[in-house]
Amino acid sequence: MPLAISTLPDQQLNALKHAYRKMVARKRRQSAVTTVVIVVVLFVAAIGADVDLRTLTAKIANFTSYFDRILTLDGGARVWTDIGEWFWGWKKWLSLLGETVLISYVGTLAGAVVAFSLNFLAAANTAPTPWLRFAVRRLLEFCRTVPSIVFALIFVIAFGLGPMAGVLAIAIHSAGALGKLFSEIVENVDMKPVEGVRATGASWIACMRFAVLPQTMAGFASYTLLRFEINVREASVMGFVGAGGIGQELVVAVRKFYYSDVSAILALIIVTVFVIDITTGWVRGHFLGRERRA
């Protein structure tokens, strides 16, 4: 078969070439403008954040040497050569870690209960009245937008130092975050069972209990476990502002330059977070079906 490449007449071809070049030029212009905008924004941000590359180059050595120091015992040996010496305070630290986990457990559960009781009012398909829905949604939004550590700071002053402030702060934040997620689950339910229950003359509460709840329970439990996981991490820093848990110990170690203690406590926190992540992940996977991580 003879090779035949058909060429368009010059006039047509030129028009196409012209259009192609115009497209390419436009795309190049667009990306150039985007790049310039990004660079300008970053430049302004660098000025705003007091970034000084000289400090960075001068002090980047501090970064490695900091890790060098926290991995060295007072005696000068590496931390892992003497585990007993490294984790000398393990009894106290473990009990504080236990407190941290307990803070997030109590906080998560309290928050989940509040979220559970409010979410039916916030979901579009189950809310009894629009104004109530609006009010509940704004309330939940407020609860999750104000950072929990800010709540903790205020509660420490109101309720005194100690884990109580941490629990309340975590509970409020969890209520806000879970309330939104729960109501989104409710908005996705099949409404036919609700109609069925309503047709029998049931009240609003009975409708929620027998038609909506069975469809949503697994989703609720799954999100609550996910929240618990996040809250363990959050509870680990609650102590920074005096709201209980291991954070207090860590902040003292950092501020007083107890170097090996810093690495020991950090290691314990990381391991705890890992264990909790893996356990809750396993529970979710096995009992609740593979819910997509949000």
Binding site: D50, V150, A158, V237
Partner: protein, 286 residues
């Protein structure tokens, strides 16, 4: 069973019982498991309340104080420090933007190493992933504390704290985006004789970049939230002002600062969601 039998109560009941024995007569184990979990959960909750010093008296006293604070917060009033607050807010925004960008730039090459379709061997991928996990396992505030020790107090420590902790998150998210990419363009590049780097540059990146840009914008948004608090440990921004005003009990200023944070976050949410729509289209987000 026919429809008629089903509708006839006298006939069907025993038969139904026999048919669905597990529904009518659940075993003791399955009947007890839900209440047992419930009792255990409530038990642990009550133990927690006791162990963490919740007493009704303390609760009441605290709530009373809290109510008093709230009345003191109204109306929100910045006093004469409004310019200082605006500067601090600018600092917070700068910290968020810069920290997120640094994290994204550093995370991109690393995420390639953590993606299954780029590095098929488990031996190389596993340590990279665990490394990213352990960075993520440490809270941002802890990273802020560490960086304060390295570069001193101030917003620069905040930038680095956000950069490091987001590096962990981005590494995971980017590698997931890369794993989700279509293989066909990559195979096309390979068939035309491209090298591995060409495959990544021309086959993978055009697919992945819009997704990544969307994620980066989303993180800038959420980092504005977290940048407002890293000031509490001394890493710059509005958090420093907030913590100070709470400690000296200037409640009107506190409520003003909180309102300012809420408004800024809402504004950034709005801008960044508009940008995200522009980059990846409305449908991809919803």
């Amino acid at each position: 069973m026919t429809r008629k039998q089903l509708l006839d109560p006298s006939h069907s009941h025993d038969e139904l019982r026999a048919r669905y024995a597990t529904v009518f007569n659940p075993s003791l184990k399955s009947r007890l498991i839900a209440p047992a979990i419930l009792v255990a959960a409530i038990g642990l909750f009550i133990f927690g309340l006791v162990d963490l010093d919740f007493s009704p008296a303390r609760m009441m006293a605290g709530l009373h104080q809290l109510g008093w604070f709230v009345t003191l917060m109204i109306p929100p009033n910045p006093g004469s420090s409004l310019p200082a607050y605006l500067t601090a807010m600018g600092e917070t925004l700068s910290i968020a933007v810069l920290g997120t960008t640094i994290a994204a730039v550093v995370a991109l090459p690393v995420s390639l190493l953590a993606a299954r379709n780029i590095v098929p061997s488990n031996i190389f991928r596993f340590p990279v992933r665990r490394f990213l996990d352990s960075i993520r396992g440490v809270d941002q505030l802890i990273w802020a504390l560490v960086w304060i020790n390295v570069v001193g107090l101030g917003p620069f420590a905040g930038v680095l704290a956000i950069a490091v902790s987001d590096f962990g998150a981005f590494g995971k998210l980017f590698s997931e985006a890369i794993e989700g990419a279509d293989k066909k363009p990559v195979e096309g590049i390979r068939a035309s004789g491209g090298s591995a780097l060409h495959e990544i540059r021309f086959g993978l990146m055009p697919q992945v970049l819009p997704v990544i840009a969307g994620q980066v914008l989303y993180f800038i948004e959420s980092n504005v939230r977290s940048a407002t608090i890293i000031g509490i440990v001394g890493a710059g921004g509005i958090g420093l002002q907030l913590a100070e005003q709470i400690r000296v009990l200037e409640w009107q200023k506190v409520s003003f600062l909180i309102l300012m944070i809420l408004v800024t976050v809402a504004l950034i949410d709005w801008i960044s969601s508009r940008l995200r729509f522009a980059i990846i289209g409305k449908r991809a987000i919803a």
